[in-house]
Amino acid sequence: MLRHLISAADLTRDDAVLILDTAEEMARVADRPIKKLPTLRGRTVVNLFFEDSTRTRISFEAAEKRLSADVINFSAKGSSVSKGESLKDTAQTLEAMGVDAVVIRHGASGAPYRLATSGWIDAAVINAGDGTHQHPTQALLDAFTMRRRLIGRDAGLGQDLAGRRITIVGDILHSRVARSNVDLLHTLGAEVTLVAPPTLVPVGVEHWPCEVSYDLDSTLPKSDAVMMLRVQRERMNAAFFPTEREYSRRYGLDGDRMARMPEHAIVMHPGPMVRGMEITAEVADSDRCTVVEQVANGVSIRMAVLYLLLGGNESAVSHARTTEGK
């Protein structure tokens, strides 16, 4: 059974659908006068953030509090970590305080996996983004958003994303969001196409369960959802692309390009957006753009994950990888 959520690749189709269905029920709690459930009363969750990410941290915190967990926020900045304390010592210190789950954001790929498998701690580990590896709750909230928009809230229950065509555009190489989405969307039966300049696609991508294209314009008409990834301006300095202007001309989404998408197709972005780079204000502010919805859905998804991992005496989600390992 899954004790940890480390990678979207670890989820089976049924696991993923269960999480999405559960999140749909969790979303309804947000419509009630009292937006709180007693489910995780007496359980302590620590948000262990070695990287700044206010939006992800707040989203987890909201989810934890709505489920009545006791929440400890630990930010590495200004803490003993910046004085050289290791991840192991930090984790063990927190566990000594009686923590049931660790939500970890870390700049090093694999840090959550290491935390879950090294025997340092017993608590459940939830990956809130590690390096350029994985960000599984982001992929789940993206899939949740797609299912709602493309199939429907109630009609979507029990459904996967079979046959939906999803295009992910931007800095694939440095993106944990892209990796998680490719894994999860494939598991859910969607057809994924990655679009990026060749410099921003990793060597080895040919083994991923998706297509790769360097041409955005030919991909847009065949897309049910287009996910724009943030492109950091500093990538320009490492020669990944010549100029910001050339990048946005070839790979940015503007109103003209959006018009080439099918009428029902949506535009997604994990945030924070770099307006004028990968997306124009016109697209970002349009009805087809789901950025704000994605944020709201993030809380529901994280509630679902927390409930399914921590709500019982064991996890409700089956698991392949981390339990097999050491």
């Binding site: 559960t22 029920e25 459930l37 409930y307 019982g312």
Partner: protein, 185 residues
């Protein structure tokens, strides 16, 4: 609650179930003085179907639309940590809400009372009813909390070694209540 149809015997059949639901409907109208502020909330899974059937009967009697919904109590259970997490069921509160109304909770079997305790907690987070009552198809005894039903289809004295299983056409293809022996491991 595990059931084993092999040695289970029916204690209520389809016509019995229809008859007791009709009786309960009449009792609700009587006790609620016309049932004009009644909201029926079924507890998933089978309590929801019973609530819908009761609503239909109440509508026949009163010739008024009776609000009916569902109340999932999974997240409020006190035994969450004794089992793997369960899939959630739908909570559907009728449009006008429950504030100031007479809420009748509907469930299939009343046993320890813990489900109803959880349901009362859940209601608390949704609104403030004028009063809350409880209707069950079967009361099998063995209460562990100070809870009783206002409307009971059938009192069924059981031992803890026995199981009670309600089957309804909407979910199980037929209406029946089965009494069986718990398999000893």
């Amino acid at each position: 609650m595990d059931t084993h149809t092999s040695d289970a015997r029916p204690v209520l059949e389809g016509p019995d179930i229809a008859r007791v639901l009709t009786r309960i409907a009449h009792e609700i109208v009587e006790r609620a003085k016309g049932a004009d502020d009644v909201v029926l909330l079924g507890i998933p899974t089978r309590g929801v179907f019973l609530a819908q059937r009761l609503a239909a009967k109440l509508e026949e009697i009163t010739d008024r639309k009776i609000p009916v919904g569902s109340l999932d109590i999974t997240m409020y259970r006190d035994d969450l940590r004794m089992h793997p997490p369960r899939a959630l069921a739908r909570t559907e509160i009728p449009g006008d809400g429950i504030d100031g109304r007479l809420v009748v909770l509907v469930d299939d079997v009343l046993f320890s009372g813990r489900t109803i305790r959880a349901a009362l907690d859940a209601l608390n987070d949704i609104g403030r009813p004028r009063a809350v009552q409880l209707a069950v198809l079967v009361d099998r005894g063995h209460r562990e909390l100070p809870i009783r039903a206002d409307y009971v289809g059938k009192n069924l004295p059981t031992s803890l070694r026995e199981t009670v299983k309600v089957q309804l056409a909407e979910e199980d293809g037929r209406d029946t209540v089965l009494l069986g022996a718990k398999r000893t491991p």
